[in-house]
């Protein structure tokens, strides 16, 4: 039986259905979009201000 998660948007009032996918679960642990992640890490390393509390 498929696991389904419903989410109603607080901003728009619409409902979205999320279905847990065994096929997608196989991606767990894999680094996705590694270049984008590397770019983000580079920006964060250069950050001169702390994250807001």
């Amino acid at each position: 039986m498929k696991r389904v998660i419903k989410h109603k948007s607080e901003l728009a009032g619409q409902e979205i259905t999320f279905t847990v996918s065994e096929k997608l679960n196989k991606l767990k642990g894999k680094v996705l979009a590694p270049k984008k992640l590397a770019d983000a890490n580079k920006l964060l390393r250069k950050l001169k201000t702390p994250l807001p509390k």
Binding site: S9, L11, E15, I16, A33, L37, L44, K48, L51
Partner: protein
């Protein structure tokens, strides 16, 4: 925010990877949104792109499927659901090109009042974080759910 969205989305059970199908003038195109932990504690990178033949996210693909607003609205809803589940996580996002970052800036700017009711919205500018304001030229966004 009254936009049409894709309402059937597949997700990993850890709620970090989301797939949906963009339907438009070029057919059905599988889109993927992924949140990945960065080196900075509590900050997660948002990536959005087409899924290529190697099952990888291609965030440089130009789909031109005629449904840009619907895709962006769907991503906004995914972010809303994600940050509801993980309210203490910061999300960093930017476009893969300057033009796309500009598009995100315009989209956030257009809905800034509504979005600000839900999120803290910070801009990465000149290696500093500053509160985002409309028309501010920035490198990236950092957002987090406001504590209620």
């Amino acid at each position: 925010m009254k936009y049409d969205v894709y309402t059937d989305i597949e997700v990993t059970d850890d709620f970090n990877v989301f797939d949906f199908i963009s339907t438009g003038k070029n057919g059905d195109i599988l889109k993927r949104v992924a949140f990945t932990r960065t080196e900075q504690d509590g900050v997660y990178n948002l990536a959005l792109g087409d899924v290529d033949e190697d099952n990888e996210i291609n965030d440089y693909a130009v789909t031109d499927n005629g449904d840009r607003n619907k895709v962006l609205a769907t991503v906004a809803f995914i972010v809303e659901a994600y940050t509801k589940k993980f309210p203490d996580r910061w999300i960093i996002f930017r476009g893969s090109t300057e033009e796309r970052t500009r598009l995100y800036r315009m989209a956030v700017g257009l809905h800034l009042d509504e979005l600000s009711s839900l999120y803290e919205i910070w801009a990465y500018k000149d290696e500093r974080l500053v509160p985002f304001t409309k028309n501010l030229k920035i490198k990236a966004f950092l957002i987090r759910r406001k504590f209620s």
